[in-house]
């Protein structure tokens, strides 16, 4: 079944999209509807593209005159969410991990515990003879040996997944203009903005609010800042011969501290609004999604705690917990909700590409 995209989820999403294509009332909310109206028939790949373009803003659900108990039973946000999650299972590499963490909080927690235990063990048994700061507990060499593959493997797995996505949706060679447009759409979460409504429907039912969008912006930008922090530290270590610990006014801290704060608060807020929203308008994956969100929050919070504890006896334990969270996050990325970043970005690139081609433009 994994290599056959005509799953029931795709078929159900197609049934609903065909109703929408005869209606079109929701054209102004997001990119899904204008993309839909370009076609009359929807192949599996078209459905995958529409599903990944949908940001689950829910505007079209609350505006729909055909929701249950109407016999047409339209619930497009849920139908597209199911089709989207199925698509990620299909693209997962290696396939045995498909869906492992996306839908299951338990599996996520198990990996987290195992990762933290591993780091405690390493700190206990492999403690170096000497070293400064963190490296007094875990040598630089061991950290690199652990995290290099733990980072590169998910990157490779996601790259293969995105390639499969691109094939399924019939993507073509990418122009710089497509990436730029997708970057703007992702950075502003344009499709979570409800068009002229300027906001989406989530925790307040049919009222429009920006809570989820703002929380997501905090997580996403917080994450990118933390990512920048680690990258800057790597550069400083290898190219500037400047190794940790870094003071408060160095790039790793200037990026990492606000990043950690944004990520922690944002993730907490995202998880909280999710408990207020109607679960029947999303994918049936509540546990896995919340576990992922909280894991992100834990990465941020434990990082901040570690920094705050500098010089105290809490450092070894906090170090093991923080690195355990990071390790669990990396390892599960291609198979958890985190994969959405990659596939959604690919969908935005493809949409930008189709629009550019339909304008007949080839300029970069």
């Amino acid at each position: 079944m994994l290599d056959n995209p005509s799953t029931t989820a795709t078929a159900e999403a197609r049934r609903q999209i065909e109703i929408c294509n005869a209606c079109r009332y929701c054209e102004g909310y997001c990119a899904v509807f204008p993309a839909m109206t370009r076609q009359r028939a929807f192949a599996d790949g078209d459905m995958t593209q529409l599903a990944n373009l949908c940001h689950n803003c829910r505007g079209c659900y609350y505006a729909c005159q055909y929701t249950e108990p109407h016999e047409f039973a339209v619930n497009l946000p849920a139908a597209l969410a199911e089709a989207r999650q199925d698509s990620w299972d299909r693209f997962a590499w290696p396939g045995v991990f498909a869906g492992m963490f996306q839908r299951r909080a338990g599996a996520m927690i198990a990996v987290l515990i195992a990762a933290i235990a591993l780091l405690f063990g390493m700190a206990l048994w492999l403690q170096p003879e000497s070293g400064e700061g963190f490296y007094a507990y875990l040598s630089h060499g061991i950290m690199v040996a652990l995290f290099t593959p733990a980072f590169l493997f998910p990157v490779l797995a996601l790259a293969i997944g995105v390639r499969r996505y691109w094939n399924e949706v019939g993507g073509e060679p990418v122009h710089f203009a497509d990436l730029r447009q997708a970057g703007i759409d992702a950075a502003s979460l344009r499709n979570l903005s409800g068009g002229q409504a300027g906001a989406c429907n989530f925790e307040a039912e049919d009222r429009f609010t920006n809570a989820r969008k703002h929380a997501h912006q905090a997580v996403m930008w917080g994450f990118l800042l933390c990512f920048g922090s680690t990258t800057s530290a790597t550069i400083m270590h290898y190219f500037l011969d400047w190794s940790a610990p870094y003071g408060p006014l160095t790039p790793p801290k200037l990026l990492g501290v606000p990043g950690g704060i944004l990520m922690t608060i944002g993730a907490g807020y995202l998880a909280w609004v999710k408990t207020k929203a109607d679960p029947s308008l999303g994918a049936k994956a509540f546990g896995g999604e919340v576990a992922f969100t909280l894991l992100l929050g834990a990465v941020g919070a434990t990082g901040l705690a570690l920094y705050a504890a500098t010089g105290t006896g809490a450092v070894p334990a906090l170090l093991a917990i923080h690195l355990g969270c990071v390790l669990a996050f990396f390892l599960t990325t291609p198979y958890s909700k985190m994969a959405h970043g990659a596939y959604r970005f690919a969908a935005l690139v493809r949409e930008a590409q189709i629009k550019r081609q339909s304008r007949g433009g080839t300029e970069s």
Binding site: C23, Y25, G59
Partner: protein, 464 residues
């Protein structure tokens, strides 16, 4: 739910569609204590207004999503053309002139607009489209009402209005199966037409009406309208008429809404169940003709017809919600549609043979007409010869009824002995006061918004 019969309300609004909600908002903003009684359960609140997509708006210069300008005289002329002169000029001009100030009012009360939908470019100057359609508008108004402290009760059917000496004193409503007497000082009636009551429709139109489909809500059954007429309220509008268009014959009996429309007729031949053509399919562009096709189909045996196209025309119109029947031969298609394949083949062959060469232009009247058959097809006549062949069934779909309550410029309802003291009406229930026949796209929401607001203001002023 708290017991709403324990309060004496300033203003009671019957029916929570566009007109009722506009009235409730205006009355509440003027300080009145307002109750809305809505017969439908919450998911179906908002009646036919849930199914709308735009409202027609006069404007002198670009306004919100509207382009260019649309002046009052042009608007009025458009109206006269569709009503064949059966229009109350004073009320119509009042609706038209007030529509311009309604748009910003709607925005201020939560309605969002979007540029005109794909496939409706011709309306981008005259009609402002609601973002998400009418249900989003209804949601916005219910939220505004909640913020203003208006009480809205669902599954509350108003069954009787108590009138004493030309004045409203209270009403009877069935809520959760129990009958309540609810007192109020002013009343706004906004409970729509009666097309949901098939018996009434059959009385008015004849038994054929039982085969009609109702495009909108099943809850507009005219209960309050009949009660008011029985008590001597003055009626307007032709009681035997309803606005009916030709829609997909497979649509649900009620609430099929916009998606059941079929735009293929001008590119097709249309036959009845005996396989015979009965009218010029290419008389005019579809938006100008879909209303007469409701009547044409209603006059055919069993109130059904079949629209047949070939592969050439399959993509010339908006996609349909139900896929067409498909076959490689006309005969096979006839069988699939449940009519005589042989007869259908004869009709289609005779039609194709009567088609002439010429330029086909789907977007405008192209004059490509048949020769020597009756009825002729006067535009877009191309032979139906290229398989696969597609067929859709057509049935009349009722949009609304014309019979209603007579009101004046303040939306006040006329009783047997002059205006009723404290009863106003807005929306479909009084639209007959303005439109005697015909219909102009987007005018229903204009009437509801303009007169709903007036009714709310007047009712609040009365209770002061």
């Amino acid at each position: 739910m708290r017991d709403v019969s324990k309060t004496i309300w300033d203003v009671i609004v019957v029916g929570g569609g566009n007109a009722g909600l506009c009235a409730a908002i205006e009355a509440a903003e003027a300080g009145a204590k307002v109750l809305i009684l809505e017969v439908a359960p919450k998911p179906y609140r908002g009646g036919n207004s849930r199914h709308t997509r735009n409202f027609r708006c006069m404007h002198q210069g670009p306004l919100s999503v509207l382009t260019g300008d649309y002046d009052p005289d042009e608007y009025y002329d458009d109206l006269l053309r569709v009503t064949g002169g059966k229009t109350d000029e004073t009320l119509a001009r009042l609706a038209i002139n007030t529509s311009e100030s309604c748009l910003p009012w709607m925005e201020a009360h939560g309605v969002r607009f979007q540029p005109s939908l794909s496939g409706t470019l011709s309306l981008s100057r005259t009609n402002a489209f609601f973002l998400g359609g009418g249900k989003a508008l209804v949601n916005a108004y219910y939220n505004t009402c909640a913020d203003l402290g208006v009480e809205a009760v669902y599954e509350a059917e108003v069954t009787h209005i108590s009138l004493e000496d030309g004045a409203f004193t209270g009403l009877e409503a069935i809520i959760n199966g129990e009958t309540y007497d609810i007192e109020g000082r002013a009343l706004v009636l906004a409970s729509g037409g009666f097309q949901g009551d098939l018996d009434w429709l059959a009385d008015a139109w004849g038994p054929a009406a039982r085969n009609f489909l109702i495009r909108g809500t099943p809850y507009n059954r005219g209960v309050v309208l009949r009660d008011m007429l029985d008590q001597g309220a003055v009626s307007v509008g032709d009681p035997t008429q309803c606005h009916a268009v030709a829609i997909d014959g497979r649509a649900p009996k009620f609430d099929g809404g916009i998606v059941t429309r079929l735009d293929c007729v001008p590119f097709s031949v249309v036959v009845n169940k005996d396989g015979e053509r009965f009218y010029d399919e290419g008389e005019d562009v579809w938006p100008k003709r879909y209303a007469i096709w409701g009547r044409l189909v209603a006059a055919q045996p069993d109130q059904v017809a079949y629209s047949i196209i070939d592969a050439k025309s399959a993509e010339l119109f908006m996609p349909s919600v139900f896929p067409p029947e498909t076959a490689d031969t006309i005969e096979g298609l006839g069988q699939k549609l449940g009519i005589s394949g042989t007869k259908l083949r004869e009709t289609v062959e005779a039609f194709s043979a009567a088609c002439a060469d010429g330029d086909f232009t789907p977007t405008e009247l192209d004059g490509l007409a048949t020769n020597g058959i009756t009825p002729a097809k006067t535009n877009w006549a191309r032979p139906i010869t290229e398989p696969p062949f597609y067929g859709y069934s057509l049935r009349p779909g009722v949009t609304f009824t014309y019979l209603g309550l007579k009101v004046d410029q303040t939306a006040r309802v006329a009783g047997p002995d002059g205006d009723l003291l404290n009863v106003w009406a807005a929306g479909e229930i009084m639209a007959g006061s303005i439109l005697g026949q015909g219909y102009l796209a987007g005018f229903g929401m204009t009437i509801g918004t303009v007169f709903g607001r007036i009714a709310g203001q007047e009712a609040a002023k009365h209770v002061g």
